[in-house]
Symmetry: C2
Subunit: 422 residues, 2 copies
């Protein structure tokens, strides 16, 4: 066995430039929502070269829409396929899903980026660009691990099911489609940007939209109107209080080092059309974290309760109650036992490569792991090389050293989990 591990480690050491170049090409293809096709083409071409069994299909909204885990406001998937590529095992070993999402979030204010957001610029051991960390770096680590096994001629007993899915950033319709297409396994690794931490538990999350009404008036007699912006400030303050109250209750030690275990992020506000009019509508959009121990509906209930409270406390809201809408993205929480065999195998491989124990925590954000585990009955660990802090940020980047280490750790895990066929 040691021989196989050494072969793999050596190949990965010798092929760093190859892995780096692959990630660079992947980052250079802008794959924001609705534009995933060209990055998927890079994935498909690579899988074809590796001789994997490819399954490429466009999501059929009609097939998925009745499923209770389906949560997606996108109408068309034409031209932007899901990709699954299987390395069939010789039989008898445990199977594994390696799941990465190809979609990336928008770039934000481009002025905050030092380089073009899709440059793939490399400097001081870091590769920059939208998606480099979240999570094309993770996907590159998966591909390198699989390529190492194939290139060294090692045969495994269990199947490796590599998935490059769309829609993770918007509610997981891509992974749901893969699960409903029949892809399940004895375990799964999702290399989201954990900064090399291992996350057996994953925070769930969901998006909300709150409509805050005002009454329009001329700005010069603004006292004759009701500013939707001023009213929205009350809502923001209430949400901040709710976030505080919910997080005080989180006592799981896996959350110990996370400042806000289940955040309520206010991601958007839009109000007003004209500087000198009192705005009559403010729309707040955000993301509410869901604890691994709670249900989606319990979390929604807490949000509804504080908005009801505000509706009671404020004269204007009594007449013009706040409405909440749960739309777009929703990620089910995940909750794997810390001593699950997959956790043990991954942790051992981590120690072998890094020479130290891994940090085991709860993930501060939702992933497609909730769908894989809850709908697909597949035990999921989230572990990857990207840097949490730079995900969704300007100047997103990844440390290439972490990428190389992660690919080794994942490759060793594959050898042990799927078992080498001698």
């Amino acid at each position: 066995m040691n021989n196989h591990e050494e072969l793999i480690k050596q190949w990965l050491k010798d092929n760093r430039a190859r892995g780096t170049r692959f990630l660079q090409i992947l980052v250079q293809e802008n794959s924001t929502r609705g534009n995933e096709s060209s990055a998927q083409a890079v994935i498909i071409e690579k899988c074809r070269q590796l001789g994997l069994n490819l399954d490429i299909w466009e999501i059929d909204r009609d097939e998925l829409k009745e499923h209770e885990a389906f949560c997606c406001d996108r109408q068309g998937f034409e031209g932007n396929p899901n990709v699954v590529a299987v390395l069939k095992g010789t039989g008898g070993g445990k199977s594994i899903i390696l799941n990465g999402h190809i979609d990336v979030v928008p770039v934000g204010d481009e002025k905050n980026w030092e380089h073009d957001p899709f440059s793939g610029h490399i400097e001081c051991g870091k590769l920059y660009g939208r998606g480099s960390t979240d999570m094309k770096g993770g996907t590159a680590a998966l591909i390198m691990a699989v390529e190492a096994i194939i290139a060294t001629g090692i045969k495994l007993k269990g199947d490796i099911i590599f998935q490059s899915v769309i829609e993770e950033e918007s509610g997981g319709a891509g992974t749901l489609a893969a699960v409903l297409r029949g892809y399940q396994a004895d375990g799964a690794i999702i290399p989201e940007p954990t900064g090399m931490k291992i996350f057996p538990k994953q925070q769930g999350s969901m998006w909300f939209r709150i409509n805050v009404k005002g009454r329009a008036a001329h700005g010069g007699t603004r006292y004759e109107g009701i500013s939707a912006i001023e009213k929205a400030v009350l809502v923001i303050q209430k949400l901040q209080q709710l976030e505080k109250n919910r997080n005080i209750k989180i006592t799981d030690p896996l959350f110990n080092s996370i400042p806000i275990p289940i955040p309520i992020n206010i991601g958007k506000i839009n109000s007003g059309e004209w500087p000198s009019s009192v705005p009559d509508l403010a729309v707040i959009e955000g993301r509410m974290g869901v604890s691994p121990e709670e249900t989606i509906s319990a979390a929604r209930g807490e949000m509804a309760a504080v908005l009801d409270e505000l509706n009671q406390q404020d004269d204007w809201f009594q007449e013009n109650p706040l409405g909440i809408e749960w739309f777009g993205g929703r990620w089910l929480p995940g909750n794997l036992e810390v001593d699950h065999p997959l956790m043990k195998t991954l942790s051992e491989s981590f120690v072998e490569i890094k020479g130290e124990k891994p940090v085991i925590e709860a993930s501060p954000w939702g992933t497609d792991g909730g769908i894989l585990s809850n709908v697909g009955n597949t035990p999921v660990v989230v572990f990857g090389p990207g840097i949490t802090a730079t995900a969704h940020d300007a100047n997103e980047h990844i440390l290439l050293e972490d990428l190389f280490a992660a690919s080794k750790i994942i490759a060793l895990t594959l050898l042990k989990w799927c078992e080498v066929s001698e």
Copy 2:
């Protein structure tokens, strides 16, 4: 003289339906910014029928742009002309400008309107629609007054210079263009929606834009970012405090019944692109009122000072200072003596028609009067039939009774001010 007045009053009484219909047609033409042409066509056709000397021209940005009172972010004026129509006097009397703006503000959230915003719907003596009050109703009162004089065969000594201008809601480029084209007079009436009050002083105002920076991050680790929305709340609170401090200092009795003499209206906020990202930029836009006794630059200085204060107080703003931009609309304040002859003439006519003394106040909003008086050296009174509270609001409407009364008061004022040529 009494005979002329009786003739005028009788004609206006007999032609109420005619005036109502004219206003209705005018309201039915959507004349939001950039779309003023079809409403101006209605005005032009009417002035042509009345035999007025028409001057129709498109504003030439290049001619105006160097003027210090020019304040306009609109590039093209093609197809949306300014209109001036003169009823030449026989000579020897005082001239008067009757100024109305044809542009209307956007309709806001259409769901808040009971009828189509451009319906011109009439019910219970009220005519509804965007612009009915601000200020096509005022313009209709002017036209009715002029038509009454012409229809009754009365000749005046002084010139009546009727103006239907664009761009009032965005900084007054239309009136500035008319002034620079040479239109000046011994007095001016602007029938903005004062609710039949007489405003010798006008609040100035100007638009501002404040950029509030944040630092993007994934919403699940929002503590790693800085929310531009949370930071924007601090700015909003600071502006609310500034408004309070500025208004405490206003002691002019003309402002006695105005809850906030010089408001700071926060009309717009836009921040964020994605519910589960920490937003890295919030843009606040609004309108700052300027007291008739202060200069534009003094008011700007007060705003700059409080933002500087915030830049000092807050660690994040120390590194990422707030920037302010004065853009778009700017209306100079106006300040006519309460005992100016035009005030006396208008007040007398008011008493004759209404049988009571007019309410004399300071206008709670800027008008083109600032340009007419400061640049055009023309004494300005603002007085009109529209209802301040419904201007810029959903279900904007005007009381037709007020429209008829205003047209009589203005017509009598014309007889006295311009003098009847026997």
